[in-house]
Symmetry: C2
Subunit: 317 residues, 2 copies
């Protein structure tokens, strides 16, 4: 192959890399290691200036976003994050104040979720690149993986979808700080993940790449189909108004773009009511949006079934 | 502060970040977590194209170097590396073939040392940035930290110093591939680290930033001085010939530049002979180069003591 990476797209690049090793690795949000009673969860995520730091956003918000997205992968496994290790590549001309403010935001997120910073590596490079390693634990019986979906499961999401996509499209249109800030405004769904795991969810994934992408990934890993009931999907009001302002399809903003970091999970029907009442008690919003059905991924809208095809935001495309 | 990062230098940047958290973290090459009988070691290291990938070097060599430098931090703790997780930021115009060759080199190193690749994250950015997370284990009693130096210890290094510095200065002068390759030519000293740890070494550190930098770091952490006997420091022949070709001081090439990834360690005198004979049996080169002495770091050369001041290669300067 003589092409460049943009000819392939992110998922094909990962496939290419995997193929060379002759063995797979878990399809999950985090790697896990048996340490006796628990699994230790280890995950890594990077952001770089050109791809993930919209111009105009506050450095504090970039720092908070960076920490939150790293913790999110632990949340998606049902775990409790304990440590974050960082590897920063920074340009020599970065302002000291900006780095300080980035750290302030990062610290705010880590303290909110009781996570300790565990040092890290600092190197010089042409553009800002922040890599985190989040480390957490989960009781063995509670681990949430991507491959546990069973026949008869229903599909649920936490929170609502489209706020971050709205931020992105509005920022692209206006360049205003408030939209850059909205794009970065995420929380790791840690309490949610723990509750979901304890309630017997069969599989979970975070929505970093959007609902459609997550559904397609679960479908591939579990070799099953899904039926998502569009009217039941909780769409954030910002996505609706951004749709009107920008002319972009609300579906694209809320279900395709991603960036929400809510959790999508599957659970047996028999366990659903208990989960919903526990969620309510804890002030956690959970919506049932569909079910495991057939062999394809379908969106049910206006009484019609449409195949879910388009993936969410994919790098390199 | 209104300055930019290059006004500070790497170590001051790390200090600034630490100060904000109000708690320290270990000064070691890796973080460690108690998992019962053993410690789990977790470490992260990044390289970026502009700072660490000399033009002309083979992509396979870059991949091998990347894997080796991540495993090196586990070696410096006396541990056995088990997994590597990767987070790659890649530009969309990178050639697919180049990524494949990078993976080939990385795989070669991981297979050589029995380390499994554990997936990772792939993102898009302006320049190539490769971050690794190495995970390993070490028996609790064998962990090598940076803070265990004791009075009466002698100072030793594995291998010889200056090969990579020679590659750097020769590459800078000539731009030839062979020197770029020499700069990247490192091995993680895993067997060495395990042997050193079992033999009762009191502290260890890898020489990524050069001997002088390592000595100064150990001095600061342990609040003690060192006396390094220059004629006993094993200098690689390439450093000597690069000194002649480039006019750069051999000391700068071999002791200041770094990039060797050999291990520097301290050990009680009473345990030295046993260690040296075990090293010999295992084909491991160990040189005794000095001792813990006084409160300052001195280099003894031509019968004179000179203060060790200059740090090794430091980013952002």
């Amino acid at each position: 192959m003589n092409g460049v990476l943009s000819d392939l797209g992110e998922r094909k690049i990962i496939q290419l890399v995997r193929a060379q090793y002759g063995y797979g690795w878990p399809d999950d949000d985090a790697a896990y290691i048996d340490i006796g009673k628990e699994y230790l969860l280890i995950t890594t995520d990077s952001i770089s200036q050109s791809a993930h730091m919209p111009k105009g956003a506050r450095w504090e918000s970039v720092g908070y976003f960076f920490a939150a997205l790293n913790l999110s992968d632990i949340a998606a496994m049902g775990g409790k994050p304990e440590y974050l290790i960082t590897a920063f590549t920074l340009p020599r001309k970065m302002r000291i104040d900006d780095l300080k403010r980035l750290e302030v935001g990062m610290k705010r997120c880590l303290e909110k979720y009781g996570v300790k910073l565990f040092g890290g590596d600092t190197k010089e490079g042409m553009e800002i690149n922040l890599t985190g390693v989040a480390i957490g634990t989960v009781a063995k019986k509670n681990i949430l993986r991507r491959d546990g979906v069973r026949k008869g499961d229903v599909v649920c999401v936490t929170g609502s979808l489209g706020k971050n996509g709205a931020g992105y499209y509005m920022w692209k249109k206006t360049g205003l700080r408030r939209w850059a800030e909205l794009l970065l405004d995420i929380e790791p769904r840690i309490d949610e993940g723990v509750l979901i795991a304890k309630s017997g969810a069969t599989a979970a994934i975070d929505l970093s790449d959007g609902l459609f992408s997550a559904i397609l990934q679960l479908s591939k890993i579990n070799r099953c189909g899904f039926e998502i009931d569009y009217p039941k999907v909780p769409i954030h009001y910002a996505a609706k108004s951004a749709g009107i302002s920008t002319g972009v399809n609300v579906e694209d903003i809320a279900l395709n773009f991603g960036g929400d970091y809510e959790l999508l999970f599957t659970i047996q029907k028999s366990k659903l009511n208990h989960l919903l009442s526990e969620a309510k008690k804890n002030g956690i919003r959970v919506s049932v949006i569909g079910k495991v059905a057939g062999r394809k991924c379908m969106l049910v809208k206006d009484g019609k079934k449409v195949g879910i095809r388009k993936a969410g935001y994919e790098h390199f495309r």
